[in-house]
Assembly symmetry: C2
Homo-oligomer: 244 residues x 2
């Protein structure tokens, strides 16, 4: 918000706008590109970003050109060939991811949110908390390394533990593994998983996989009766390297 009252500025300000650049929208683009480009890093297409953010591809192209035109550029954009984050863009994306995961952990641990409600709230707040707030909740939580869904929280310098996450759907029958993380954006799914006792750290054994992308039959922890998980559920669960 501008200060029309101050008369003599050193240089005439470049006219503050109602919705400053480098805002919520920009954050969400950078985060989307970060999440979609995976590891090792891949170019991300306009269409993918559009689908991820539920907006049109035209809007995405428009924004990508702005992001590429910033100084410093936030993305490297090749017309018709997608984008990659620049150094600066990646730094900002990781900052927002850190906010998101710290907020989720905070909501769950301190404010007793159920784990299926933390994502939605964090998705909004991640853009608006200060560095002070970030620092304080991190301290309060004892500088946690993982959020309630098992996702690693980037450190202050943006570093993440080198992980080799594998989808549960890629296990072979008979193999065991520990749940590393679960997808955090579908509350209904999270409630279902909680009801099954599936959460990060729990040991799973794939007893059988029905043909044609059918259900996965898993034994959970040391329980006796197995559970059945759909293919999309098995895709939403990552596990650590299978043991034995």
């Amino acid at each position: 918000m501008a200060k029309p009252l101050s008369k003599a500025h050193r240089t005439d300000q470049p006219k503050e706008s109602a919705h400053p650049p480098g805002s919520e929208a920009v954050d969400d683009y950078l985060k989307a590109i970060f999440q979609l480009s995976g590891r090792p890093e891949r170019q991300v297409s306009s269409t993918e970003i559009a689908a991820h953010l539920s907006i049109t591809a035209a809007s995405v192209t428009n924004m990508l050109q702005k992001l590429a035109g910033q100084n410093p550029p936030l993305v490297a954009y090749e017309k018709h060939h997608g984008v990659k984050l620049s150094k600066a863009g990646k730094k900002r994306a990781l900052e927002i991811v850190r906010h998101h995961r710290l907020i989720e952990t905070f909501l769950h641990e301190i404010l007793d949110y159920p784990w299926d409600e933390v994502h939605q709230e964090a998705e909004r707040l991640e853009h608006f908390i200060s560095e002070r707030f970030e620092e304080r909740i991190a301290a309060k939580l004892g500088h946690p390394e993982f959020d309630p869904h098992g996702h690693a929280i980037p450190a202050l310098d943006g570093s993440l533990p080198a992980q080799e996450p594998q989808a549960l759907s890629q296990l072979r029958p008979g193999q065991s593994a520990k749940v590393s993380s679960v997808s955090d954006n579908d509350p209904e799914m999270l409630r279902y998983l909680a009801a099954q006792g599936i959460r990060p750290g729990v040991k799973l054994t794939l007893s059988e996989q029905l043909p044609f992308q059918g259900a996965y039959q898993v034994r959970i922890g040391s329980s006796t009766k197995p559970a059945l998980l759909s293919h999309s559920l098995a895709e939403a669960i990552t596990v650590s390297k299978p043991q034995q």
Copy 2:
């Protein structure tokens, strides 16, 4: 954010905009009008609102017309004669004030923010927390009635304790009173007051007032050496009805 993928809607949506009405800006106008109109309720002028929000009067007029045109109207606007909040506008304003003061209390009590830093953070977050978040921090804090500066927190139904706040500057020499609240928007001032030991609940005695709006000499609590407060400082402190 729109969903361009859903094809057949019941009625064609009125085209979702990037910055939905009923947002941060609207909240801040309603809050400003609420704060400025005082008790008993007064009409508030465009210029006052402009100064309070550090924007131009033209922008204010523009927004007031929009607010008056909403259904239901959020303000009663008489061209050239200022505005008052409508029922709906007052409800929303109190909702935001409740957010603000709960957040301040939360930051101070749970996250150990110093009292001069809570206002700025609350000013942003008040617009973005959910009802769930509000409810959780209120519960965590034991449903507090006052924020760290002594301001009353509106109840869920919007009610506020009937208070008769009086500026310290209106005390007569010799009178004693208890500090009720201190203005919360100037961090430097708050640090100064804290250093003097002036905070809500502390007893003050006005020993002398220098002429021509000069300094106020007060004894703080049961301390022996008096402090000197400028007129603007004495305006920023409210006290409860003088005793004796």
